[in-house]
Amino acid sequence: MAKQSIVPFGPQHPVLPEPIHLDLVLEDEKVIEAIPSIGFVHRGLESLVDKKDFNEMTYVIERTCGICSFMHGMGYCESVEKIMNVEIPDRGKYLRTMWAEMSRVHSHLLWLGLLADAFGFESLFYQCWRMREKVLDLFEMTTGGRCIFSVNKIGGVLKDVDDVMLATIKATTQDIAAELRVIRKTFMEDYTVEARLRGVGILTKEQAHNLGTAGPFARASGIKMDMRTTGYAAYGDLDFDIITSNECDSYGRCEVRINEIFQAIDLIGQCIDKMPKGDIATIVKGNPNGEAFVRMEQPRGEAVYYSKANGSKFLERMRIRTPTFANIPGLLETLKGADFADVPLLILTIDPCISCTER
């Protein structure tokens, strides 16, 4: 029998942008088991509900994470709007959808860059992040912020986007799509990249379901699940299909995310073409009273927002179940039987956001 050893991995590791720790039980170079450990940067943001009123909480929730900041704010606002039966104006819905899809583009490009960095393809990493920079420029142009831009409010959005800006967004995202078509070839067809991704970190459809995975991680195992199909914000007016892959490995996860960037760019274009005129927010009076669950498709998958209010200006409870939290059990399964050298890559393939997880 091969000798077993336990190798601590993280919380500080060159491939980890944020802290997570795994105790890897190895037999020679094969991982037998992985035991996760989180909680290094837990902030308890949810407990601020008794210090910040339900309007101020929007800004707290947006600070859950620097990558999906906008979508966190949007999810929280939708949960409070659901409690208060507030219908936001159509233009507000379309703007939220447009910014949400721009967030997906920048998040997936960030992930592609990190993946390229993890398998040692530095020039590919630079190319992905150079393209991502263009999305951040668009955020800055439309909102004034590049990461956290606080444009959500209960009842709609705070900033409008004029026609010139909309045209710029459409043109720039089309440029990104053209550049991505070139880069896609490297990710999907280069034999050195394929060698690192194909057949690595297999998670079957059944395993993905049984382990409660979400988002591109689940869709890459053939699970056809996307919260956008519930038609929240303006998604009900837009035309799109759920992108899946039956590869069930790291290659499939990469394929799904690349295709989702093209899809997001298409959705941004549809939003701009159909952008209604009118108000961007509605006036909201009173305090919320009741409870609501809202589910939203973030770049990393299904996020659940739960708000509970008692009629005062402070919520009783606000809870976010982030997709990374749901994907950790799936990650542990993919690590079983993997080569030790593939561990950093496999952790990346779930696109972990520990900042969200440690909200």
Partner: protein, 118 residues
């Protein structure tokens, strides 16, 4: 694309009914989407949310219990519930029995005991 119009329901149950209901969810192929706890009127409110990924329906099993009431772990049925259950135990002090993977209140490495109970 067909837009789904999912139902969101909250079903009140007792701690004794929890496992029976969770078995039914498992048999129906529902995914455990999340478990969360809220502290309201000196009671703990536990919500076990199950998602049907075909219809997008969302079923929440709601337990309202006293702080010292014991609740059975569902990790035998949904092994990945261990993270949610450890979180509830650590932040709210929910008394969970037969937890498969018990972090012994070290999941989040907090200084305060049950910080979400105020």
């Amino acid at each position: 694309m067909e837009i789904k119009n999912p139902e969101h329901v909250i079903v009140q149950i007792t701690p004794e009914e929890l496992l029976g209901n969770v078995v039914a969810m498992k048999k129906n192929g529902l995914r455990l989407s999340q478990i969360c706890c809220a502290y309201s009127n000196e009671k703990l409110e536990l919500s076990y949310s199950f998602a049907d990924d075909n219809t997008y329906d969302y079923i929440n099993l709601r337990l309202v219990i006293d702080k010292d009431t014991e609740v059975c772990s569902i990790t035998e049925l949904y092994p990945y519930a261990f993270l949610y259950e450890n979180e509830m135990k650590e932040l709210f002090g929910v008394n969970i029995m037969m937890l498969n993977v018990d972090y012994n209140s070290k999941l989040y490495r907090l200084h305060d005991e049950t910080p979400f109970i105020k």
